[in-house]
């Protein structure tokens, strides 16, 4: 709609700048003209383009009188001059900046204006969305600093939120024009990074700033940048100089900020951001640059770092490795900086020999740890690298040698050698080591190839290895889609598991630089014929296909043109379409329809689907029913569902990923469902299927209709719940108490199976003493130690859980005589401090709690249902529940545990430790026997057998 009122002041001026971008400029201008705010003007500033920009803008101006055109006398080569010119020509009360290749959200103007007027703000900032094309060729929107824009916020000045300066863009903001003019705020001309200074100056001068959660600006990062090797990247030291120069200018502006306390805070926040963001950006790539670049860059950063409030900033930074980097930069420790850089390229990678001192973990020592400042800077305990198990770790593995063994027309045999760091003795010297090299095309591996590494040796803080591989025969790429194979290293250390990592190098060994080996893609040599060894943009050693014959050159060039989005050819569209179809195929609605159709197929006689805790592990009663089936040589088809990975699941069952197509098919056609929690609610169970719900614990906390959550449900939700529950045909109970609580609370129609829990059979087995001894030996528990199992219940939030007693204190008092096993709820995790290791072990990830029961001498818990199962063992129990009030606030219990606990009930560390010290195998014996009887009278140790006999003995019904 054209402007209604030409004479009135426009509410908003949108300054659109462009240089030789006539193709995209109209889209940017239209995004401004099509705003739901009509009363605006668009000032297009052309940086003296040599294309037909003037004509294009003239056409736009003819269509809409709100467009004005300004052309610079000569090309300025940056964004500053055009934007400043825009400010000079602006007539609106507010002003925004838009680049010719980006677009504004349709409601940006109105949202900005409404916020600005409601609070009389000098500056309004909204969410910027970066629009990428991802690896699959699909458009992906990534918000810029989303944590700053989660809700509307009104700040009196930048001091209200010193972190504001993190968002340094100038384009996602709306400025009061008089504010810019009064304070002479302009873009600096002749520098890169002009946004940084402009936005910081505006923040620091603004009297009122409003942040709105609305997307306002779409930054079109459409052109996928082809991955370049770092060493090939032509980096310009001027870029670094400008960056540091801009930071110094911002600091100078900050010196004029009136509020002194605020000034210090902003300075600190800015220093933190500089270390965590700017320094990281450059440090990451530094080792791959030229020597001159490295020297000057280090000098620039060192000089600037010295002007910052380092002590306070180091203490505040959460990115601990970046802090270590800043410190090593100051100390001019180049080898140390290289290790930091290796970590910054992949944050999970441990690239140094960590040092432990007084229970803290440091990046390195080299004498730095003698001073307080060094300890502050190099402390990386929070990063948690030392807590990871070997399979979770990513130990830096560097290529040290590459030698050609033999190259013929069809063979290309090379020897790769390297070394892997071994910080804090992660890999002990006495475990058997074996290793593989793996060749893998990126994240989305179509195919991968592994070869055994012949020599692996443990040399204290390094693992050295060396092995041969015939690249031409071993690595068989498809061609075109997998041009690049990363080299990975997999180290298997006995029972500790396998660690996988990428092999890195800063410089390739000399033999590798010019090396080319024969390649044999499946799509024939028409798509490539040679392998070259390169270091990719993340510092990883890779094999890359190169084309030496003319056909392959053309094929690859055409594909590259299309896939990078600049060509926009038919190939790209085809690939994108295929990707979208693949995405649609995973649409839940489609899955529901297909599931309904599959349910019409006949049931597969005797087939059983097992699931435990929604596929999290192979555990609990379903596991023991499955083992009973196996014990009896059951003939029907047996399937286990897994959620994340297949670790620990039985090899002789067919394994399906939860919610996969195979999962739908298995469930639709199964004769039996066996599960302890619930198959997805939307999956209706057909009449011919028998659902055996084993459940996962007797209830202390109220359940079902007795909980606020269910009481709060509307009729529809209640019906959905009832429908899900009514799928159960049989429900395992441990005693009549379960019927009074669980069965009634869920208004269940299922037939209660009065057999007890299969998972508890072992606890009542006649051989349990032998079993216990065997398990303790397997776990390696010292025979003379009292083993305590601590199993607290779920705390309302998932994630890390911190107990209300100190593990260190426990280790001090009981370390010599006791061993504490900590088992957090499966939705929680726990971390054991270094000093308490030895006395305290985290067993949260061990799948089978029954085996932990057997291996322990006593149980410590609060409100967890493990107390009911453990009572069958007739071993002591201690209750430690310091937060009863908080815990029962939102949900009641069926009985008062404090009054009826079959063991000492404690609420603080002191009484808890006293109870532990006084514990004997006989304590509370009568109470706990009565407790076991009261809640589990049907537990006879034969539950799995009874379930088998009833349902599976005839091989199906």
């Amino acid at each position: 709609m054209p402007e209604q009122n030409n004479t009135a002041t426009p509410d908003l001026t949108v300054v659109v700048i462009g240089y030789n971008d006539a193709a995209r400029l109209p889209e940017a201008v239209r995004s401004a003209l099509d705003q739901t705010l009509h009363n605006l003007e668009v000032v297009v500033v052309d940086d003296h383009s040599s294309d037909d920009t003037p004509q294009v803008v003239a056409r736009l101006a003819a269509e809409d009188p709100r467009v004005r055109f300004v052309r610079l006398e000569s090309n300025s080569g940056g964004c500053s001059k055009p934007r400043n010119t825009g400010i000079e020509h602006a007539r609106g009360r507010y002003v925004m900046f838009l680049d010719s290749d980006d677009v504004l959200d349709r409601h940006a103007g109105l949202n900005m204006l409404q916020a600005a007027e409601e609070y009389d703000a000098d500056l309004v900032s909204g969410l910027c969305i970066r629009r990428h094309v991802n690896r699959s060729g699909l458009v992906e929107d990534v918000p810029w600093w989303p944590e700053m824009y989660t809700e509307r916020r009104v700040l009196e000045s930048a001091a209200d939120d010193p972190d504001l300066l993190r968002d340094t863009l100038s384009t996602n903001k709306c400025y009061r024009l008089d504010f810019l003019r009064e304070n002479a705020i302009r873009f600096p001309e002749g520098f890169h990074w002009e946004d940084l200074l402009f936005s910081a100056t505006a923040y620091l001068h603004a009297r009122k700033i409003v942040l709105i959660p609305n997307p306002v600006y779409y930054w079109e990062v459409m052109v996928r940048v082809a991955a370049k090797s770092i060493s090939n990247q032509r980096s310009n030291i001027g870029n670094v100089r400008d960056r540091i120069g801009i930071h110094r200018k911002v600091d100078a502006v900050l010196d004029g900020f009136p509020d002194e306390a605020g000034r210090a805070q902003i300075r600190l926040a800015k220093a933190v951001k500089f270390i965590e963001h700017d320094l990281v950006l450059y440090l990451r790539e530094l080792p791959y640059q030229t020597d001159e670049y490295i020297a000057e860059c280090r000098q620039l950063f060192r000089d600037y770092l010295q002007t910052l409030p380092l002590e306070a900033a180091f203490a505040r930074c959460r990115h601990r490795v970046a802090v270590a980097g800043a410190f090593l930069m100051l100390r001019q420790d180049w080898p140390g900086l290289v290790t930091v850089s290796e970590n910054l390229l992949d944050r999970t990678r441990v690239s140094t020999d960590l040092v432990e001192r007084d229970g803290r973990i440091y990046w390195c020592d080299k004498g730095y740890l003698d001073e307080d400042f060094g300890r502050l800077a190099l402390d990386v305990t929070e990063a948690g690298y030392h807590q990871l198990s070997l399979p979770e770790s990513n130990l830096a593995t560097r290529l040290t040698g590459l030698d050609v063994v033999s190259v013929t027309r069809r063979n290309g045999r090379i020897r790769l050698s390297g070394e892997t760091v071994n910080p804090l003795g992660k890999v002990p010297a006495d475990v058997p080591l074996s290793a593989q090299l793996e060749f893998r095309p990126g994240q989305r591996a179509l195919r991968q190839y592994r070869v055994k590494v012949a020599e692996v040796s443990h040399e204290g803080d390094r693992i050295r290895w060396s092995g041969e591989v015939d690249v031409a025969r071993t690595v068989r790429p498809v061609g075109v889609v997998d041009q690049m194979f990363e080299v990975r290293f997999r180290l298997k250390a006995g029972d500790l598991g396998t660690m996988a990592t990428r092999v890195t190098a800063i410089h390739l060994p000399e033999a590798a630089a010019e090396l080319e080996l024969p390649a044999r893609p499946l799509l024939t040599k028409a798509v490539g014929d040679r392998w070259a060894v390169r270091i990719n943009h993340r510092g990883v050693v890779t094999l890359q296909i190169v084309s030496r014959n003319p056909i392959a050159k053309r094929v690859n060039a055409s594909f590259e043109r299309n896939a990078t989005g600049t060509g926009g050819g038919g190939m790209l569209r085809l690939v994108q379409k295929a990707m979208r179809t693949a995405q649609k195929a995973n649409d839940p609605r489609l899955k529901r329809k297909v599931y309904a159709a599959l349910c019409r197929l006949p049931v597969k006689k005797g087939s059983v689907v097992f699931e435990s805790h929604m596929g999290l592990s192979y555990s609990d009663s379903p596991k023991y029913i499955y083992e009973a089936l196996r014990h009896h040589g059951y003939q029907g088809r047996v399937t286990w569902s897994y959620a994340e990975n297949t670790n620990g699941f039985p090899k002789d069952a067919s394994l399906v990923a939860r919610n996969s197509w195979a999962y739908l098919r298995a469930l639709a056609r199964a004769e039996f469902w066996v599960d302890n929690q619930g198959f997805p609610q939307w999956m209706a169970k057909r009449r011919h299927t028998t659902y055996i719900q084993t459940w996962h614990g007797t209830a202390l906390k109220t359940m079902g209709v007795n909980t606020p959550q269910v009481k709060a449900m509307l009729t529809g939700q209640r019906k959905a719940l009832a429908k899900a529950v009514n799928r159960f045909d049989h429900f395992l109970v441990r005693g009549e108490y379960d019927i009074r609580t669980l069965v009634e609370a869920f208004e269940m129609r299922a037939e209660p199976l009065r057999v007890g829990y299969p998972r508890n059979d072992l606890l009542l087995s006649p051989e349990r003493a032998e079993l216990s001894a065997a398990l303790r030996a397997r776990f390696g528990f010292a025979e003379d130690k009292t083993v305590l199992l601590y199993a607290p219940t779920f705390r309302n939030t998932s994630g890390p859980f911190k107990p209300d007693f100190s593990f260190e204190d426990f280790a001090r008092e009981f370390g010599d005589t006791h061993l504490l096993l900590v088992r957090a709820h499966y939705l929680n995790s726990v971390s054991v401090p270094e000093q308490a290791r030895g006395a305290v072990q985290d067993v949260s990830k061990y799948p089978d709690v029954t085996e932990l029961f057997l291996a322990s001498d006593a149980l410590i818990t609060d409100f967890s249902s493990v107390m009911f199962d453990y009572s069958l063992l007739d071993r002591p129990m201690v209750f430690f529940a310091p937060d009863k009030a908080g815990y029962t606030q939102d949900r009641g219990t069926y009985f008062d545990l404090e009054a009826e606990a079959p063991g000492p009930y404690t609420t603080d560390q002191e009484s808890f430790f006293k109870a532990l010290a006084a514990l004997t195998p006989e304590s509370h014996r009568e109470e706990r026997r009565a407790f076991a009887q009261r809640f589990g009278e049907y537990e006879k140790g034969t539950a799995a057998e009874q379930v088998y006999q009833r349902f599976f003995a005839k091989g199906g019904k």
Binding site: M1, Q4, D11, T36, L37, H38, N39, D105, R106, H107, L110, N111, L113, Q114, T150, E151, R152, P213, N214, P215, T707, P708, Q709, V710, K711, A712, M713, L714, T715, Q889, D890, G892
Partner: protein, 388 residues
């Protein structure tokens, strides 16, 4: 001085005795009172219209009304492909519905055709009516879309997707509370959301007696209003205070009444609970109590909480929606469904005369921000904004 405007308010229907209609009628009065020319449009007529005209002394409301369809409209969705193949006539019925809808839209185009586009505003009260507005020619008059329920409630029904589809391009879309507007922005992907609360229907003058020892609840006796939970909580309160003279009065009627009466008897609280039936004298009913209680499972912008505070009642309510939190800034909020906690908090308020008196005294002032003139001013600013 704000300009005189033509304001067109479009509802699904304007003749039922429902919440949206009440709101539209009171807005009609309020904006007419400010001097605007208001036209209330119902998409369709209803079978048993409420006689709104009779509520005015001269039998004539201060605004004009019109209907797009005289008779009730029955929606015919586009049948799925397999249904269309098996029953070709199902497709025809849908086509007939579409052409009926277009007739209504044409009538709307005609009704707004003569208005001055520089000053006129269309308010779409319910997203269903937006289908007609979208098909009509509105001559560039800005449209403000509204949602009269919480974000969560919208998303739990098909209205969520329809709001996203039909309201996205409008200059402004208003939700009932700031929190709902924020939810629509950050979770719902709507980028034009603002908030606009409902006005108080009568002046906030207080008048309830904190020493009457009566808890009062008011609403339709249906599952979502949660009276079963209220009785449960009341039974805890009563059990903890044997011989207390406190009583619970429940105003309203609905399908669950027999079940609720039976529940009260089963819980043994029948003697202290009375079912008063529906009332059309809401302020009087409220002023007969000393505490207002609400155990709704779902709400949008609960007017009864607003009205209760206007009458000087301290309130205890389940925290079931952003609207409750926004209205009840000085009341007692209990986590949804926790009847024990509700009983605890209510009991504490019953036992503490001083606290109750203080809350009662503060209640009318705490809803002053919903006074009709305050809300009318906010609307004026919104009208000006969409014309910018």
């Amino acid at each position: 001085m704000a300009p005189i405007r033509d304001i067109v308010i479009v509802c699904n229907n304007i003749d039922e005795a429902g919440g949206a209609q009440r709101w539209a009628r009171s807005m009609g009065e309020l904006l007419s009172g400010e001097g605007h020319r208001v036209l209330l449009i119902g998409v369709a007529g209803v079978a048993n219209p409420h006689d709104y005209a009779a509520e005015y002394e001269d039998g004539r409301p201060p605004y004009r009304t019109a209907l797009l369809h005289e008779k009730p409209v029955h929606v015919v969705h586009r049948p799925a492909i397999d249904v269309r193949l098996r029953h070709p006539r199902a497709g025809l019925r849908h086509r007939a519905y579409l052409s009926l809808q277009q007739e209504g839209a044409d009538r709307l185009s005609h009704l707004v055709g003569s208005l001055d586009t520089e000053n006129a505003v269309i308010i779409c009260v319910q997203v269903f009516a937006m289908e007609w507005i979208a098909k009509a020619d509105t001559h560039g008059i800005p449209v403000i879309g509204m949602s009269h329920e919480s974000y969560a409630a919208s998303m739990a029904s098909s209205r969520g997707t329809r709001v996203k589809k039909l309201y996205t391009g409008l200059p402004r879309f208003v939700a009932l509370t700031e929190q709902d507007a924020s939810d629509w922005t950050t979770k719902g992907g709507m980028n034009n959301a603002a908030s606009m609360p409902n006005p108080l229907p009568f002046p906030a003058t207080g008048g309830a007696d904190p020493d009457a020892h009566v808890c009062v609840a008011l609403g339709r006796l249906s599952q979502e209003k949660g009276f079963d939970l209220l009785l449960e909580a009341w039974s805890y309160v009563a059990k903890a205070r044997p011989g207390s003279d406190w009583r619970l009065k429940i105003y309203g009627d609905g399908p669950d009444r027999p079940a609720l009466e039976a529940q009260a008897a089963a819980l043994g609280i029948a003697s202290s609970v009375s079912f008063e039936g529906a009332t059309n004298q809401v302020p009087e009913a409220l002023r007969s109590g000393s505490i207002f209680v609400s155990t709704s499972r779902a709400e949008g912008f609960p007017m009864t909480l607003l009205e209760a505070q206007a009458c000087g009642l301290p309130c205890v309510a389940f925290d079931c929606a952003p609207g409750v939190r926004e209205i009840l800034q000085d009341g007692v909020l209990v986590s949804l469904g926790n009847t024990e906690a509700f009983a605890d908090r209510l009991g504490a308020l019953m036992d503490d005369d001083d606290l109750r008196g203080a809350l009662a005294k503060a209640a009318p002032d705490s809803v002053a921000r919903y006074a009709p003139d305050v809300i009318a001013l906010r609307w004026e600013r919104l009208f000006a904004l969409v014309h910018r």
